[in-house]
């Protein structure tokens, strides 16, 4: 501390001149040259530490499409496949009784209790007690026989039960092979097939269903022609 004269005012604090920032224009128009950096090694500014979220952001974002892909893979579950393979969407007949299905036009010409069954020896066939045999005559217009060759035929009763063709219960009766094709080569433009079914005597037949596996879940429901 410098000696002071008693009673004199304190000496002013003098700050050394500070160089203006580089490139500062000082009036009246002169440019101050840049100040040289202090001597010594150059130390880079400290790096900011990145947080966990920032470090793993890409991975987290990648999880979004991954989860979406996992969900997409599992969308096709067994239940859906099961239902897709069941006949659930009915294709009904038009006013004239024709149904367009699997590239063919199909019509149920008649559906009635069978009275024409015979044995292989040609004798009248007696239907077992408690049962009714049904005869369905179906008309086809099918330019492509292969498209309907794998069809399944079912009889439907008024309660919604379905019955298979040429049943074991009618063993001994002479019945044509249940098919949707004509059996002729080349197929005629229009032909009729006859199919036999059996139900309990108490059941009343109401329709015939035609199902082609390739068309599932659609199936044709043929009702007796008007």
């Amino acid at each position: 501390m410098s000696p002071e004269t008693p009673g004199a005012p304190p000496a002013p604090v003098v700050f050394p001149p500070v160089a203006p920032p580089p490139g500062t224009v000082t009036p009246p128009g002169t440019i101050t040259p840049p100040v040289a950096p202090p001597p010594g090694p150059v130390v880079p500014p400290p790096r900011r530490r990145r947080g966990w979220l920032e470090r793993n952001l890409l991975g987290l974002l990648a999880l979004v499409p991954l989860f979406a892909a996992a969900g997409w893979i599992h969308r096709d579950d067994v239940t859906e496949r099961y239902w897709a393979g069941r006949p659930r969407e009915v294709v009904v007949s038009d006013a004239a009784g024709w149904v367009s299905y699997a590239g063919a036009r199909i019509r149920l010409a008649s559906l009635e209790p069978a009275t024409d069954l015979v044995t292989f020896g040609g004798d009248p066939y007696r239907v077992p007690d408690g049962l009714t045999a049904w005869r369905a005559a179906i008309l086809f217009q099918a330019p492509d026989q292969d498209a309907i060759a794998s069809c399944t035929l079912r009889l439907e009763d008024t309660a919604g039960n379905t019955y298979g063709p040429s049943p074991d219960e009618l063993t001994g009766a002479k019945m044509p092979f249940a098919s949707c094709t004509s059996g002729d080569e080349p197929a005629p433009p229009s032909y009729e097939v006859v199919v036999y079914f059996v139900t309990p005597a108490s059941a009343q037949a109401s329709a015939v269903r035609v199902t082609v596996p390739r068309e599932l879940p659609r199936y044709a429901r043929l009702t007796p022609a008007p």
Binding site: G40, V43, P46, G130, R154, G160, Y163, D168, V198, A201
Partner: protein
Amino acid sequence: MTGIRRHRAPDRPAARALAALGSRLGIGALLIAAIAVGSLIKSVTPDTDTRERPFIRTGAPGEATDARTFEVRVLEVRGAKKIVRLGRERETGGVWVLVKVQAVARHEPTTIGYAAVRDARGRLFHATERIAQPLLGGRTLQPGVPVEGEIVFEVPADAAVSLSIRLAWTPLDQRMDAMAEIGLDIDAASVAAWQAATEAARITDAKLAIGPDGQVTG
């Protein structure tokens, strides 16, 4: 003038090494915990076979039991040392068990594709393939049209006691589908009598079980 060389705290190698070690140990502990939790979940949840097992519907002899596509009743059980089917006799080192059942499709045509008996130890014996079974496989059941016939099993004598029969529609894949299980109430005396029998049991074809009035017979 002394220049500032760096703005960070001086290195502390021991502290940094400890921190790194702690971090690695933490990750390892998390991995072990994840594996332990996974193992615990796996041990308390059912495996695939258990999870996809058939839905067993139990019934008693004479009682209609629902197997989803058909209903079935056990009418009678008999046994023998020898059987005759389609004129051909077959003998066994164990015992033949013949279960007479009545089955009817529920809403659409179906078959009995799977038949097995289960003994008290949980062993399963499928219906024999040594004969043409009258009711299995090829016989299509129509709704409301009951059919009865015998299903034939060949089992060791010690397994014949306390058997139950299991029936389902599909021969290939019974997973997550209904299966009827009916106890057969076979006692040791019956098994001994069957083994001692000298006469062959004759197996007939399946037949309709419906009367002229449409009533179910049997």
